[in-house]
Amino acid sequence: MNQSVLSRRDQLLVDGALGALEGPDQAAFEALLRDPTAAAEFAALERSAALVAMAEFANGPTPAPTPSPLATRLRDDALAFFAAQTNSPQSAISERPRKVVQFLAPWLLAALVTVVLALWRTPRAAQPPELARAELLATPSGLVRCEWTPGPSPRRGDVHGDVVWSPSTQAGFLRLNGLPPLDAGHCYQLWIVDAARTGPPVDGGRLEPGPAGREFVVPIGAKLPVQQPAAFVLTIEAADGVVVSAQEHVVAVARP
């Protein structure tokens, strides 16, 4: 690559790594990257450029400390991101073929627990969620309660409300106002980050945006037992919900 006169190909790759592509060169560069060899060379040039940036950073003035609100947002973003990644038995099995038996056992157990919980909750399902929430709030102690904060998605709207969760009964409610309306092809989906669970977060069920301008209450439909809820995350997904979220639209996060 290091000849006296650089080829057009090499110029494009180096300019891409330097962030110096202009106009029509950008399209030519993107076309060039379809060639795996060119893409690999570009990746190496990018890493070389990163090393220079690191040297200049390390040798430069001490940077300003990270603003505290930014640190909080980064933590919330991360919680939301990983919350939106649902547990996918198929992918987990393919990654760890020798652990199929160990993997399946807790899932079967969890499924049984979920069925039991669903049956246990059935009689209460008849009453309005607002009343059921009030009943839950009247229980003596041990409730998790947290406020919604806006997520990073541009479609986040102006969500207010809170989450109430009872670890002992594995029941809870979302109180929401300000969720933007969605088209028919999308829904909201809740995810619960469980600090006690090493795998991805728990699917908390799908919900509709609710009546415009009015508060509404929705029961949480956790698909697995939740031991230590670390965050409740609302995302916009395809209408039927998803198994693996692209995490493109996190609209709200509530952290205990």
Partner: protein
Amino acid sequence: MQPALLPRIARGDMPAVSEFLRRHTGMVHGLARRVLRNAEDAEDAVQDIFLDVWRSAHRYDATLGSETTFVTTIARRRLVDRVRRATVRPAAQSLEDPAMLASEEDTSVELREAAAIAQNALDQLKPEQREVLQLSLGQGRTHEEIASSIGIPLGTVKSHARRGLLRLREMLGVKADDPGGAR
């Protein structure tokens, strides 16, 4: 070398995420401030960069570079994208700006070691190549800004930058066996 976190992050390990943020936020934020020259834009960019890191964590290959290099590569790519999209860009900010100078943040051992190696390679470049690369990659100046500030033609700036980066890659021995890179 510090224990790798990205493989754990790829599995959704939140303590690893917290430690990764502790290690790298200072540098990513510092780079964003230098390149974007606007505190608000820089903070938005830092959020985008870390989301991209979480998405890409499973692609990390320790044989191709450190985690610091991985996150810096992603950071540069996102910052370049933002600069390209920006219609207006503030003037280059002095590194003596009080906002750029403050208390100690994490300049990790790994970062210092990698930086020392890169600096050694930079020192072996022709002075004009080194200057252009330092301004371009270290301070986020565009080639036009560099041409204007040091008074040489734009084409010469481009030539120095291209040849300098190619020579650096050679000296640093950066491998090209990663077709996907961190993309």
